[in-house]
Symmetry: C2
Subunit: 231 residues, 2 copies
Amino acid sequence: MSAISIHPIEGIGEVKPGDTLADLLIDRFDFHPLDVVVVTQKIVSKAEGRLVTVGEDPGEHEALVESESVRIIRRRGELLISETSHGFICANAGIDYSNVERGQAALLPLDPDRSARRIRDGLVARTGYEVAVIVSDTFGRAWRKGLTDIAIGCAGISAIVDLKGTSDHMGRELQVTEICIADELAGAAELVMGKARSVPAAVVRGIEPEWFRESSVRAEIVRPPQEDLFR
Amino acid sequence: MSAISIHPIEGIGEVKPGDTLADLLIDRFDFHPLDVVVVTQKIVSKAEGRLVTVGEDPGEHEALVESESVRIIRRRGELLISETSHGFICANAGIDYSNVERGQAALLPLDPDRSARRIRDGLVARTGYEVAVIVSDTFGRAWRKGLTDIAIGCAGISAIVDLKGTSDHMGRELQVTEICIADELAGAAELVMGKARSVPAAVVRGIEPEWFRESSVRAEIVRPPQEDLFR
């Protein structure tokens, strides 16, 4: 198997409501067939105008988190872990104050799978290539410190690759083998996004061609509450 | 910033107790300075002789999980989520039946940070290069379906990069910015490991030179129970 490479897309600059991300990406990067573009939530939210004005008062922040949540899962001091309308469990309902204008906050895209699909449609239309898109965000985890970038939306790429029934090299069926490649791709892309995170998109090149298909984070990755042991 | 590349290390074949992994890796790959080698738990456990005989009876499996755990966290049917002696929360205490001989099971390394350090010492001694090592394993997560590869041990590379105080490109301090690059590197490496997972090691090349330093998964990533909201 050959190598995979990860390429930052630099020079995107400030994204404004109404911008067409597919155009911004194509103008700055020479796409190949079967590229996977990982785009951070921040520029997706900005392009979609998901910005709100919020004051400095902690009560205002808390009210905003609650309005963006369907359920508060845990609360410790100012930290709120909640479930968003998308079914994501994360801190502060994914609301982000960095790299936005002071006094503003960026909310999560309303439907990140649809956001990914829209970007993908634009890329496919302009390049004529089969490419895939992942919208990523930076989330914490239970049990482990530190944050990682994960997929909140995807289009054109398997969210999860099911290796059930693929035999291991000793000829037996593998046991539990549903690999969430969308999250691994999002985390891999984060590695080139730079220390001050001024690079908001990256391309992963060289992944298995058979992983390209229609898919959705919401349908494939979000674990329904009734199957979940930890909320 | 330039690209990152991920290279599978192929042809390692069957690893046996007593094998020196650093030698097996060097014989099959042309290392460069500042390479990060990700080695899967499976071959580390085999090289370290962490294999036990276990019968087909589910009771035997359950007793083994319990003996490898300090605490059972959740139980649903045959699925046991437990805390291992290392502080990892995972299914079946990380015990693995795939790619081992029938009737055997591979246990987690006793001290995966030490395993990583031993491999790194061997690589540094033979190449003279600064390189880093991550021992990876495939774990599930709360709230999200699918498994991802994460770091269970590391040597020579930051487990977590603290971007606190690094200002964003609008000049303000970033908020929560402790990125667990060890887990992102482990997940990235998984992407080249192949469908039947017959590639047990990969090299990530091109990451930030300042991320190389002494570190430990246990000290930096494992969240102490008293800080944890989800067990």
